[in-house]
C-alpha cells in the first residue's frame, strides 16, 4: 500500500533505498532549493513531517537533504511554515563548501542523510 507521506530529496541514494510503496520526489537541485521546494509545497497545503535541519552536518557543508511531508493537502500549516522559513534563513549563515570535498566523501554524505531520513521513516511507519 502507498504510504500517506512523500519525500522531497536531492540525495540519489534515497530513491534507490525506498521501494514503490514510497513516493519520492528526487530532484537534482541544491540543499537550499530542496528546502524551498518543501516550502512551496507547504504553501500548497502539505504538512512538514520531518525536521528540515535534521543532522549535524550543516547546510552548505553537506549537499544532500531529504525532507518528509504529508501526501494530502489541507489548510496551510503555520507551524510547518515557521520551521521551513527558519531553516531556509539558517542556510545562509554557513559558508558554502559543499562542492569542495574529495569525490569519495559524497557517498558518506548520502549515507548520513539517508540514516537521518530512515529514522523519520521508522517513526512514520509506526502509525
Amino acid at each position: 500500500m502507498k504510504k500517506n507521506y512523500m519525500i522531497i530529496t536531492n540525495n540519489p541514494l534515497v530513491p534507490r533505498k525506498l521501494n514503490d510503496e514510497y513516493t519520492v520526489a528526487y530532484m537534482d537541485i541544491s540543499y537550499e532549493d530542496v528546502l524551498k521546494e518543501v516550502r512551496n509545497r507547504i504553501h500548497e497545503g502539505h504538512r512538514l513531517l520531518s525536521h528540515p535541519l535534521s543532522g549535524s552536518v550543516k547546510p552548505n557543508e553537506t549537499p544532500y537533504k531529504s525532507v518528509m511531508i504529508t501526501e494530502r493537502r489541507e489548510a496551510v500549516d503555520e507551524e510547518s511554515l515557521m520551521i521551513i522559513e527558519n531553516a531556509i534563513q539558517a542556510c545562509r549563515k554557513f559558508v558554502f563548501k559543499s562542492d569542495k570535498y574529495k569525490p569519495e566523501v559524497y557517498e558518506d554524505f548520502q549515507i548520513i542523510d539517508w540514516t537521518l531520513l530512515e529514522s523519520a521513516v521508522a517513526s512514520a511507519d509506526a502509525w
Partner: protein, 426 residues
C-alpha cells in the same frame, strides 16, 4: 539513591609490560589493551598512543572521549546494557580515574571531525586538552559498513575504559564525594522550603553518528523518563555521535555531567535536586511533540518549581529546545536553557533556528562559527587526511604553512551545551 564517588588522580600515563596504577601513574600494557580492543573481529588493527597536556600533538578524527571507571560496590557495573549486564546503577560505590581519558579515533565517514589539540589556541577551547589522553586509533576490516564500524569503535572504547577502570578496584581513592538524592516523599519532608528543581537533558537521537544510548537503548526509541542523577555517573548514558564535535556530548561529559554536579552542589542548600529527566531530539516532528508534551507533563507531575534544560546539537534540536522550554514554562515551571550559537563567521546571523519569548533565560556556550587558526603541530595522532573534510572545514582548510583555518565547530567539546566550558558569547 546514594552514590559514593572515589576519585583516583592520575598524574601520568606510561606504556609498560604490565597494566597497573601505582602512585598515581597509570602503566598500560599495550599488548593487553590491544587484545581488549581487538576482541571485536570487525576491528582489523588498533594503535595506542599517549597525548599529554602541553605537548605539540593533535588528535583527530576523534570519535569519543571516555573516563575509566569501576563499580566497586552496589548493583550493576559501568555502562549497563552496553558493557555490563542490564541492572539499575547509581548507588553504592564507584571509582573514577581523574585527570585522564580514553580517546577513540578512527575514520568512519569521510567528512568526520573532532579535533583535540594538546597545545596552542585550539587547546583553550577543547576541554580534553587538559586530560592525559590514551588515544586508540581503530582500523576496520575491509568493506565494513559505516554502521558496523561506528558500533565497533564505540564498543572498543568502552571495553578499554572498563579494563583500565578495573585496575583501580583495589585502590584507596585520593578523594571521595557523596551524591545522594531523596525519594519524592523524603524530599518533600526533608526540604519543605526549598524549590524543587530538576535537570532536563535532551539527547541527540537522529541517525548514524547522531545517536545516544540509555542503558543500551537507542534514545530515538525512548519516551521521556526520569533518572536518579547518580545513574549517569555509572555510565547509564553513552555517546554514539561525533558529527559537529563542538556541541556533542562525548561519554566523558555524560559521566561528568556538569549540570548534575553543579545542581548537587546546591542540593539541600538552595534547591532540592529532585531528578534528571531525559528526552530526545528525533527528526520526526510528531516525535518532538510527544517528547516535549511528556517532558512538560513529568515536570508538572513532579511538582517542580524550576528546571535547567540542556541541548545537544544544532538545527533540528533547536525546535525541541524551544518546544520543551515553552511547554515547561506553560506549566508554571521556571526554565533556564543551555544552548550554543551558529551566528555565522561574522557573528551577525540569527543564532538559533527557532525562538520564543518564553526562552527568557539562556546560557550560551558561544558561537561555533567563530574562525580559529590552528597552527601546525609536531605530531598528529590519527590522520589529518580527514580534517580537511570535516564539518566547518573543507579541502581549502589546510593552509600553505601547515596551519588549519577552521571554525570552532571542529574542536571536540568546544561549545558544549551542558555548560561544560567557560566559553560564552554576547
Amino acid at each position: 539513591m546514594r552514590l559514593e564517588m572515589g576519585h583516583i588522580y592520575i598524574k601520568d600515563i606510561q606504556f609498560a609490560a604490565e597494566s597497573k596504577i601505582e602512585d598515581g601513574i597509570l602503566y598500560v600494557s599495550e599488548e593487553a589493551v590491544k587484545a581488549v580492543a581487538l576482541e571485536d573481529e570487525k576491528i582489523k588493527s588498533v594503535s595506542f598512543d599517549i597525548a599529554k597536556p602541553g605537548e605539540s600533538v593533535r588528535i583527530t578524527p576523534v570519535k569519543d572521549v571516555i573516563e575509566p571507571r569501576v563499580k566497586v560496590e552496589g548493583r550493576g557495573g559501568i555502562f549497563p546494557g552496553v558493557i555490563a549486564k542490564v541492572d539499575t546503577v547509581g548507588e553504592g560505590k564507584t571509582y573514577a580515574l581523574k585527570g585522564m581519558a580514553v580517546v577513540t579515533a578512527g575514520k568512519i565517514v569521510g567528512f568526520q571531525e573532532g579535533i583535540i589539540d594538546m597545545t596552542g589556541p585550539g587547546a583553550d577551547y577543547t576541554p580534553f586538552s587538559k586530560t592525559l589522553n590514551l588515544v586508540m586509533v581503530c582500523e576496520p576490516v575491509d568493506g565494513i559498513k559505516p554502521h558496523d564500524y561506528e558500533k565497533a569503535v564505540r564498543f572498543a572504547g568502552f571495553r578499554v575504559a572498563v579494563y583500565l577502570g578495573e585496575l583501580a578496584r583495589e585502590l584507596t581513592p585520593d578523594e571521595t564525594k557523596v551524591y545522594e538524592t531523596c525519594t519524592i516523599k523524603e524530599g518533600m519532608e526533608k526540604y519543605p522550603d526549598l524549590p524543587r528543581v530538576a535537570y532536563v537533558q535532551m539527547l541527540q537521537s537522529q541517525g548514524l553518528l547522531h545517536d545516544t544510548y540509555v542503558y543500551g537503548v537507542d534514545a530515538k526509541k525512548i519516551v521521556p523518563t526520569i533518572l536518579s542523577p547518580t545513574e549517569v555517573m555509572d555510565g547509564a548514558i553513552v555517546s554514539g555521535n561525533c558529527v559537529s564535535a563542538c556541541d556533542k556530548n562525548p561519554t566523558y561529559v555524560h559521566l561528568n555531567n556538569p549540570v548534575v554536579h553543579d545542581m548537587f552542589e546546591q542540593h539541600g542548600k538552595t534547591i532540592n535536586f529532585v531528578c534528571q529527566i531525559i528526552t530526545n531530539e528525533n527528526v520526526y516532528l510528531a516525535d518532538k511533540q510527544r517528547s516535549s508534551d511528556w517532558t512538560a507533563k513529568l515536570c508538572k507531575m513532579l511538582d517542580l518549581d524550576g528546571v535547567i534544560v540542556s541541548q545537544e546539537g544544532f538545527g533540528n534540536p533547536d525546535t525541541d529546545l524551544i518546544m520543551n522550554c515553552k511547554k515547561i514554562e506553560a506549566e508554571g515551571v521556571k526554565t533556564v536553557i543551555i544552548t550554543d550559537e551558529y551566528a555565522g563567521r561574522d557573528g551577525k546571523s540569527q543564532s538559533l533556528a527557532d525562538s520564543d519569548p518564553a526562552a527568557d533565560a539562556v546560557v550560551t556556550g558561544g558561537n561555533a562559527n567563530q574562525v580559529i587558526i590552528l597552527p601546525k603541530l609536531d605530531k598528529v595522532i590519527g590522520t589529518l587526511d580527514y580534517v580537511t573534510k570535516i564539518a566547518g572545514a573543507s579541502e581549502e582548510t589546510l593552509r600553505e604553512d601547515g596551519s588549519l583555518e577552521v571554525e570552532l565547530q571542529v574542536l571536540t567539546g568546544a561549545t558544549n551545551e551542558t555548560g561544560f566550558n567557560k566559553l560564552s558569547a554576547r
